[in-house]
């Protein structure tokens, strides 16, 4: 046996197997497959001396075409040092890719008209009751001419911190608010003109949720928004996404500001052929409370 340095697995049992228990099966790397998933199977001993199988699934992605300088390429091969030298960064999940898709949120959607409610503000707060004139300037009180942020009389108005968004605690209460320092419920704060309506709508809004099923796999939220916005103001679009593959799971929700718009969308889009599949659109079942 000593002459033959290579240990045969078949002989392990016959030899004094107890002594050879320190041997671990070799590391196995499977993949990466077409989705970029790489599976690494390793074996190690835990603190109690038991053999443990560790399966690590990692996703390999090409983030950007990087042109690296010579020095940068050399730095790639540097050894880790300091706290990183122990090498358990991966298992400690020190660096993770966000599961959430973060978009650069435009103050207004590209290509849309300037008078659309800004993405940073609550679009519901902007919409007044009963679909009357939506555009009200809070600085000069003019209806239907411009938004607060575009008010030509902005400079004349008393300075308020909350120019086009609902006031926050760090903005001093504008125009005759109660004494500073005492707590004021957000909907009672000065400047929160539409909050009562907004509150109602937000509750009602849950009922204006439209469920869309049989979506094709590569449908994304912007696509759905593009499809549904023609029927009226959309407050939320959500597409269920598989966390692992990043592919759509084939259904999503669209919330409308107004119920009529939701109904209109259902009547038009249910059975509509979209991306070689036939959409199924219905009112979403109310969320169990």
């Amino acid at each position: 046996m000593p002459a033959d340095a290579k240990i045969r697995w078949g002989e392990l049992e016959e030899d004094d197997g107890g002594d050879l228990d320190f041997l671990l099966p070799p590391r196995v790397v499977i993949g990466p497959d077409e989705n970029g998933f790489k599976k690494t199977i390793e074996y190690r001993f835990d603190d109690d001396g038991n053999k443990v199988k560790v399966t690590t699934t990692t996703r390999v992605r090409k983030l950007a075409r990087a042109r690296l300088s010579k020095a940068a390429v050399e730095r790639r091969s540097w050894g880790k040092f300091g706290d990183a030298a122990s090498g358990d960064d991966a298992s400690a999940r020190l660096t993770v890719v966000s599961t959430e898709e973060i978009l650069l949120e435009r103050p207004r959607a590209p290509g849309s008209k300037a008078d659309e409610p800004s993405a940073s503000g609550d679009p519901l707060a902007m919409a007044s009751k009963g679909g009357a004139v939506l555009m009200v300037c809070r600085t000069c009180g003019k209806k239907g001419d411009h938004w607060t942020s575009k008010c030509p009389y902005k400079d004349l108005a008393p300075p308020t911190d909350a120019s086009d968004t609902p006031p926050t605690s760090d903005g001093p209460a504008a125009l005759g608010g109660p004494a500073k320092g005492s707590y004021v419920a957000p909907r009672l704060r000065a400047g929160a003109v539409h909050t009562d309506a907004g509150h109602d709508m937000r509750r009602r809004n849950d009922e204006n949720s439209v469920r869309v099923t049989n979506l094709s796999e590569d449908t994304r939220e912007p696509d759905l928004l593009e499809l549904f916005r023609t029927f009226g103001a959309v407050s939320r679009v959500y597409v269920a996404v598989d966390q692992k593959t990043g592919m759509s799971r084939g259904f999503g929700f669209v919330n409308f500001v107004h119920r009529e718009d939701a109904e209109k969308a259902i009547s038009k889009l249910n059975g509509y052929g979209y991306d070689n599949l036939i959409l199924h659109v219905e009112m979403a079942a109310p969320r169990p409370t």
Binding site: W78, L94, V97, E105, S163
Partner: protein, 326 residues
Amino acid sequence: MRPILMKGHERPLTFLKYNRDGDLLFSCAKDHTPTVWYADNGDRLGTYRGHNGAVWSCDVSRHSTRLITGSADQTAKLWDVKTGKELFTFRFDAPARSVDLAIGDHLAVITTDSFMGNMPTAQVKRIAEDLQDQTEESALVISGITGRINRAVWGPGNRTIITAGEDATIRIWDSETGKLLKESDKEVGHQKAISSLSKSLDWSHFLTGSLDKSAKLWDARTLTLIKTYVTERPVNAVDISPTLDHVVIGGGQDAMNVTMTDRRAGKFEAKFFHKILEEEIGGVKGHFGPINALAFNPDGRSFSSGGEDGYVRLHHFDPEYFNIKM
């Protein structure tokens, strides 16, 4: 885009810095260990152990061989970037806050806070090529400023030093004599403490962020105000895009008030503005606390933000970002 979340720090981030090639990202936090990451995939390369207090800022030499850090433990330290070895310690009698290396990496300007009756100062140290020759002596000490100096950087051609801080005034000093050359206009300048300062790639202009909820773009030679970007929250961090006419501004309400309000009200977004049109391009959300540090990758294709929440978020821009039309 799907940001990469780097959770290497236990305490709020204070500063982020890319090296010139844009392949390494250095992060400083209130915990005591500055950390270096690969800027493409966010893998941790190493940490620099040795400080005994919050690390406020850092700078890296042009060839990414040396790192200098300023810490609240009243020292600034020189490090070997590759191994994490501590090379030299500059001791002060007050916490060191801002560090900046001059072109050529032979000089560094380090600011110290006011502490135990000492006035805040900005001190110029020589950085010797050979460690044997390295001394602690200051080549120049600038003092006479009231209020903390939050940032001191070298002006164009190393001829000047630009300081900005709590007294809301930007000052330009002669880097040879230490004479005050220019002071920003009180009327058009910031109204509250300046929290951050970032130079453009060609050093011709720089951007300051202030707690007065605005960021301002200044000419680095004449100190004339060029542009103002107004947001609705205090600004803690700013940076200028190296490739596009964009600036990014981050901040948020005071950390102490965060728990009292809704996350959305905190506005912990990195806001992009068009540098010339002063118009908002968009916001990138994600942090659960104010943004304390922002940095563009020198290639302009990614940026990272560090927050009070202890996370560094590394964002690689979507292709659409480069086609935004105003």
